[in-house]
């Protein structure tokens, strides 16, 4: 993975001191809270319901062992001994004190980490496929260009005061595991007819009040041109994005208002100007230099089958279940990609304790894993595990309570912190997702239901990505009472779609039953081989709606 040189290292140190000075000035009153807020947001620091919250960048979801250990240290020293992984693969701590944050930033700098631009109206953390470098069918690892974009966008002098936040994601396979079409800029690495590798650039995706799937703006942008192209997009947005209404300020509004053709035209005018200067051409040697950091480990020459693995599947039912859902085929023979679910039944989705962080780091140490990944679905991934090591790795995960065999199943829920933590929330999300998990805890039933992606947000800001859920749940405030709306048919994959609102919402004592009725409706309506999403796309909302609300009406009598 990328390693800082002296320049990167100095940047994060100086940034920490810059923030220390900002805190000093705030405490003295030389900065008002209105002035300080955007500055602290650019260092990932929110003021939430109970306390501050610090969001730490995990670039393209990749962590080294010592970084995981340092996060555990910070969790113990400055926080309540746990952290939370987000839908943008970042880490959040819920209890830091403002006065301690500059010190925390230095602890992070010690392990080449930072909180730079993890919030605020600037370019945020660049995310990528969490199976990068491991999955078959990948044109190339999406992370080198992600790292280059990270550096390009960090402390960008022109684009640090955009109309609103700006999120970029990169994918390199046909299957989109990075939800690129839900981002402000989504980059798909493709090959053109001439066999050259380049980028298809989508612009204008986003969640929130007005969800949109991104539109294709750049059909094929070359590697040398990509930074100039991104600059052109950011410039058009900075100049013409709306600043009159915070709910209409994302680039998605501009793109959909102008239409793809006109937006593309404006971008290309700017792009041509930038090319004239020649200052943003990406030298191939620079890309190669960064690619070298992401070279995969030397894979051993192993047989496809592993007797240790097969024996464990036969002997250990828990291992067999885990292997069924939490393993993905690796491009190298004899290897597997292992998903570590952070969705224990009845526990807070995406949370991880300091002990668990250390435990994961220790597994990495013992098995020679140089990286662990964070997915936007709030799980961890060991990308390169020898099949023969899987039983031993599983045993270690089990001892840490990190072996829940539910990757991709209905209890693998994405959920934001919601009203339990967040100042913006309208309703709690965590207890609902826990209750849904408990309702569907039976593993056999989960397997029968197959892939169902439930995504839940505690407010319209949609940090839980509910618009992209096969079943999306949105918490709202109905006259001071928590209330929940169901959406169906969203997708965050390459077939990106916005979920459709089903109908009137449900109270917190009704919502789990309502979700179960949705699921029962799917079971009734499905044809062989269909996931819930497929059934919904085939039959539409009406049959689901009828069953969910008819049952509710009957129950009322």
């Amino acid at each position: 993975m990328y390693r800082y040189d002296e320049f990167d290292a100095k940047m994060v140190r100086e940034r920490a001191e810059q923030f220390r000075y900002q805190v000093e000035r705030r405490i003295k009153g030389e900065l008002t809270e209105d002035e300080f807020k955007p500055l602290r947001l650019k260092n990932g620091l929110y003021l939430q319901l109970h306390s501050y919250m610090l969001r730490i960048a995990v670039p393209y979801g990749t962590l080294a062992q010592r970084q995981m250990r340092q996060l555990a240290f910070i969790a113990r020293k400055y926080d309540r001994g746990y952290g939370h992984f987000t839908t943008r693969t970042n880490m959040q701590f819920h209890w830091p004190r403002l006065k301690d944050v500059p010190d925390i930033l230095h602890h992070l700098a010690d392990v080449e980490m930072h909180c730079i631009q993890t919030s605020g109206n600037c370019v945020r953390n660049v995310t990528a496929d969490h199976f990068a470098g491991a999955i078959a069918g990948e044109l190339e690892d999406p992370r080198p260009i992600s790292e280059i974009i990270r550096q390009y966008s960090s402390f960008h002098p022109e684009f640090n005061y955009l109309p609103r936040k700006f999120k970029i994601a990169v994918s390199a396979t046909k299957e989109d595991r990075a939800a690129v079409k839900w981002h402000d800029i989504g980059i798909e690495i493709i090959k053109n007819d001439a066999g050259e590798i380049g980028y298809r650039v989508f612009v204008g995706g986003g969640m929130g009040r007005t969800p949109y799937v991104a539109l294709e703006i750049g059909h094929f942008v070359s590697k040398t041109d990509i930074l100039a192209y991104i600059e052109a997009i950011l410039r058009v947005y900075n100049e013409y994005g709306r600043r009159d209404n915070i709910h209409k300020a994302r680039v998605k509004i501009l793109v959909h208002q102008l239409g793809a053709d006109e937006f593309r035209r404006q971008v290309e005018v700017e792009f041509a100007e930038i090319k004239k200067t020649g200052t943003l051409q990406l030298p191939p040697e620079e890309l190669k230099r960064i690619e070298a950091y992401f070279a995969p480990p030397a894979f051993e020459d192993l047989p496809d089958e592993s007797p240790e693995f097969d024996a464990a599947v036969k002997a250990d039912k828990d291992f067999a279940n885990w292997a069924k859902t939490n393993l993905t085929p690796h491009r190298a023979r004899g290897y597997a990609i292992a998903t570590i679910s952070l969705k224990n039944i009845g526990m807070t989705t995406g949370d991880i304790s300091a002990d668990q962080m250390d435990g994961v780091a220790q597994i990495m140490d013992d098995f020679g894993f140089t990286e662990v990944r964070v997915s936007h679905e709030q799980n961890l991934v060991f990308p390169h595990v020898r099949k023969k090591d899987l039983p031993a790795v599983f045993a270690r995960l089990k001892a840490l309570d990190l072996a829940t065999a539910n990757a991709g199943l209905i209890t693998d829920i994405i959920c934001c912190p919601g009203l339990d933590y967040c100042d913006l929330a309208n309703a709690r999300s965590i207890p609902i997702s826990m209750a849904i998990q408990k309702r569907f805890a039976d593993l056999e039933r989960q397997h029968d239901l197959g892939e169902i992606k439930i995504k839940m947000s505690g407010c319209i800001n949609a940090c839980g990505h509910h618009h992209a859920g096969h079943i999306g749940i949105l918490g709202v405030d109905k006259k001071g009472v928590e209330f929940y709306q169901i959406q169906l048919g969203g997708s965050g994959a390459e077939d990106a779609s916005v979920g459709e609102i089903m109908g009137p919402g449900f109270g917190k004592d009704e919502i789990v039953d309502a979700i179960e009725r949705v699921v029962d409706a799917y079971v009734k309506l499905r044809e062989p081989g269909e996931r819930l999403l497929d059934t919904y796309r085939r039959v539409g909302m009406t049959p689901f709606k009828n069953m969910v609300y008819r049952e509710q009406m009957h129950a009322a009598y």
Binding site: D5, F7, D8, K10, M11, E14, R15, E17, Q18, Y21, Q22, R25, L31, E35, P38, L39, N121, Q151, Y152, S154, F155, H156, P157, E158, F159, N160, Y161, L162, P163, R235, N238, E239, R243, E273, T277, T279, L280, P283, E285, E286, R289
Partner: protein, 163 residues
């Protein structure tokens, strides 16, 4: 308002004359774009230091054919979060090669000064209590830069490549 240029407080060469108000007999004046447009010929014929003040929503390309006659362009920050002027300054310097003064006016923060210098601002209309040492400090907060801008500073990529 104190004016900073070249890292020190300087006398303002311009007086901002609101629309409708008469100009003084001589000395530099700064006017709105509307006034510049309607009285362009008179203003230029007077051969006095001339500044034009643009609102945040005004794309400076409206001035592109007159830049040779404009000594200073003031770009407004209605609120510091409105970052359009960063792009306008960059456009003036880089696209149009403007060599005159680009001045930041309105509400902006110490924390934006370094970025503003990078994109082409060279004069700053600062708060009454602004201490000049702060300007110097702002310029020194970050030693390196990742991306090219109008200041021509070497980027980290260039340093790494030995350029």
């Amino acid at each position: 308002m104190p004016l900073i240029k070249d890292g020190k407080f300087v006398q303002d060469r311009f007086i901002f004359i609101p629309d409708g108000q008469a100009f003084p007999d001589d000395g530099g004046v700064m006017v709105t774009f509307d006034r510049f447009q309607s009285e362009c010929a008179t203003l230029i014929a007077h051969h006095r230091p001339l500044g034009v003040r643009l609102a945040a929503s005004q794309n400076p390309e409206v001035l592109k054919d007159d830049l040779a006659n404009i000594d200073a362009i003031a770009l407004e920050f209605p609120i510091f979060r409105d970052g359009r002027a960063f792009s306008w300054a960059r456009m003036l310097r880089q696209r149009f090669g403007y060599k005159g003064e680009i001045r930041a006016v309105g509400h902006f923060l110490y924390d934006q000064l370094a970025f503003m210098m990078r994109v082409g601002f060279d004069a700053f209309d600062v708060r009454q209590d602004f201490r000049i040492e702060e300007f110097d400090r702002a310029m020194r907060e970050m030693t390196y830069v990742y991306q090219p801008s109008t200041d021509g500073r070497k980027t980290v990529m260039q340093i790494r490549r030995g350029e």
